[in-house]
């Protein structure tokens, strides 16, 4: 029973990170119909920037803020310079461009920061809380993860629901031409959307790095998990992405906790889950429509 609780708890915490990453993918998909396969590499780049600052003696929080800001700038530049020319074109072209960006950024990280494993700090402890006389798999760091993801989501909801910029962004995402005719600067909104998504992606990259080792390809698994989570939720729905992230976190935690040598199977399990979802419910777990053509 205690094992079950611990596995569930760590699954939920991991799931929060997947949810954030999936949310970033969904934000971009909704506005430009592009899956940003470079998102993991972009997030990794900001994590390395943060680590460089921490190594130079800055505090974790300064590094975090600089990383998120550089994520914002990176996202904006990527959309404006690289994505804009292929927006609205054949979908294969956009896929290939984001993949190229993925490879290029990952290689650039290795050139600038090196390929070695480097340990990434966490601002809070990683010892589990004690309930009675047992230690549970909930640590101050996991509370930090849950808290920061929840705050980020609340801020995004507030932005989209209650601000004029948020409304303009949604209008641009759902009706590009109409929004332009109504005077909305759609190009700027798309740039802003990519920038915000990159901030959320960057946050998840820093959260998953906390207390672990990072190397240029450390986000490769997360891009897969984020994609699977987003597809679980239907790829179009922010709420779906969050639920999908949590479900995937739980599922992978059970695989790695209960199967013998299960940790080696986590990536395979994600593949299997994705295949099953795409075959059985291609519109995501919550979709009413079955066909997925776009």
């Amino acid at each position: 029973m205690q094992q079950f609780i611990n596995i569930t708890l760590s699954g939920l915490v991991e799931g929060m990170i997947y949810a954030a990453f999936a949310l970033a993918l969904v934000l971009i998909w909704r506005s430009t119909r592009i899956v940003n396969f470079a998102q993991g590499a972009m997030a990794a780049a900001t994590a390395f920037i943060a680590l460089a600052l921490i190594d130079a003696g800055q505090s974790y929080w300064v590094a975090l803020i600089v990383a998120l800001v550089s994520g914002f700038v990176l996202g904006a530049i990527v959309e404006r310079v690289i994505i804009r020319p292929v927006e609205g074109g054949p979908e294969l072209n956009a896929v290939i461009v984001t993949l190229g960006l993925f490879v290029a950024i990952q290689a650039l990280i290795a050139i600038v920061f090196g390929s070695a494993f480097q340990s990434f700090p966490t601002p809070f402890g990683v010892r589990g809380f004690e309930v009675g006389d047992t230690t549970i798999a909930l640590t101050p760091t996991s509370l930090y993860i849950i808290g920061s993801v929840l705050i980020t989501m609340a801020l995004l909801v507030a932005l989209f629901r209650f601000t004029r910029v948020g409304l303009a962004m949604r209008a641009s995402a759902f009706g590009q031409e109409v929004a332009r005719l109504l005077g909305v600067r759609v190009g700027r909104m798309l740039t802003l959307g990519w920038a915000l998504a990159a901030v959320v992606g960057s946050l998840s990259g820093l959260l998953i790095a906390g207390g672990e080792f990072i190397y240029p390809a450390y986000m490769d698994s997360l891009i897969v998990f984020g994609f699977v989570a987003a597809v679980l939720g239907g790829l179009d729905s922010p709420v779906g992405a969050i639920v999908g992230g949590l479900l995937l976190g739980l599922a992978l935690s059970y695989v790695s906790g209960y199967l013998p040598r299960g940790s080696a199977l986590v990536n395979v399990a994600a593949l299997v889950i994705l295949m099953v979802v795409l075959l059985v419910r291609p519109g995501g777990l919550f979709a009413s429509s079955v066909a997925r053509r776009a």
Partner: protein
């Protein structure tokens, strides 16, 4: 917002001067096939391909005999990249499906070859490679069934999961597949007949490296011969129809799913063979050899060459082999250390993918071909005008 409902909707761009589509080059062969009269090669497609095969064999022997052992091993490397890229370019260029999972399918072939060569008395090499092809074909068919219903970003994501997930099995089945360390491959010795042949042709010493380079070349020529015929056949035309005219093809009674599965399976077979050759050439099958970067390198090769073009896939693969030493040296000259300089090649691949998609989606070979065809069409139109006017 536009809601594209065909994967590569504007793919009929072959006649336009500036093709928008990545697969525009793939349309060209169908145009070209109908006007073979001007070529110095025979008119029959099969005959023409046979002549090309003969030329390729002679060319390979000359190339492998006039170059040093290091270049021989580079050419062996070229052969497995080109085999995999050939399969991938048929899938992506002709059928419009993308795959980031071909690295994983190569792993299937490589591990199969490695396992069979571990036996005390291994069976004959051609048989081992054939089994590797079959294994990868089965896996490819399974993936293809799932992939047939997807396209664009969904397919890319699913095959990405394959590329990241499948090597994990090698770690899980540690005892059989060797875990992180992988399986060492005992490359078979060159047969006596081969030694005699080399002695007769050039008098060079028939080393193991040379033998594997020949094995690679034979596999490459065979694969491209089969693929080229397939592309020109009714099957190839149906693939193009499935890609360009999804709805029309469906209305014409073509089972889209089945044709997509077939394309994926054929492509996986090529990847399996490539994996087998890779295992022989680098004498190792390990998870580190089949990273995502491998799959993306293959993608770079076919994009650069022009999607759908076998010649393009070959040229793109040559770039994968000959570019890294070049840029690595360049990086070292600029003061990068070895591991940093080694990352310059993937960096270039990434930049090339982006730049190619933005400026020349038809790829290198495709762009040249389109220019040539446009030029020819203009000439012909001018000729027609002057003859009707005069």
């Amino acid at each position: 917002m536009s809601a594209p409902n065909t994967p590569v909707s504007a793919a009929g761009a072959a006649t336009e001067e500036a093709p928008l589509t990545a697969t525009a080059a793939a349309n060209v062969p169908s145009t070209q096939a109908t006007e073979s009269g001007r070529s110095f090669l025979p008119a029959s497609t099969l005959l023409r391909h046979l002549v090309t095969v003969l030329l390729a064999i002679v060319g390979s022997v000359i190339l492998l005999e006039i170059t040093d052992p290091f270049t021989n091993s580079q050419l062996a490397q070229l052969s497995y990249y080109a085999i995999a890229a050939g399969g991938l370019t048929v899938l992506t260029g002709l059928n419009g499906q993308i795959s980031l999972g071909h690295g994983a399918l190569m792993a299937v072939g490589a591990y199969t070859t490695a396992l069979f060569l571990q036996a005390d008395e291994p069976v004959a090499l051609p048989l081992i490679l054939l089994v590797s092809v079959l294994t990868a074909t089965v896996v490819g068919a399974l993936v293809g069934v799932a992939a047939a219903r997807l396209h664009g970003p969904y397919l890319a994501g699913a095959t990405l999961a394959l590329a990241v997930g499948l090597p994990g099995l090698a770690i899980y089945f540690h005892d059989t597949l060797g875990g992180e360390q992988g399986l060492r491959v005992r490359a078979p010795q060159p047969p006596d007949l081969f030694k005699e042949f080399i002695g007769w042709v050039s008098g060079n010493s028939a080393t193991g490296t040379k033998w594997l380079a020949y094995v690679g070349a034979i596999c490459l020529i065979l694969t491209y011969f089969l693929l080229a015929n397939l592309v020109r056949s009714r099957i190839g035309r149906t693939w193009r129809a499935v890609r360009d005219q999804e709805v029309a093809a469906e209305l014409a009674g073509i089972n889209l799913g089945a044709w997509r599965v077939l394309a994926f399976t054929v492509s996986a077979a090529a990847a399996g063979l490539a994996g087998g050759v890779l295992a022989l050439v680098i004498r190792l099958a390990a998870p580190s050899g089949f990273t995502l970067v491998l799959s993306l390198s293959l993608l770079t090769a076919i994009v650069l060459g022009g999607l759908g073009s076998l010649l393009g896939a070959l040229l793109g693969s040559a770039l994968l082999v000959f570019l890294p030493p070049f840029v690595t040296d360049l990086g070292a000259d600029l003061g990068l250390d070895n591991t940093e300089a080694a990352q310059l090649a993937p960096f270039v691949y990434g930049v090339v993918l982006i730049v190619a998609m933005i400026f020349a989606p038809a790829g290198f070979v495709g762009t040249v071909r389109l220019r040539w065809l446009t030029y020819r069409a203009k000439q012909r139109a001018a000729a027609a005008r002057s003859s009707s006017g005069g």
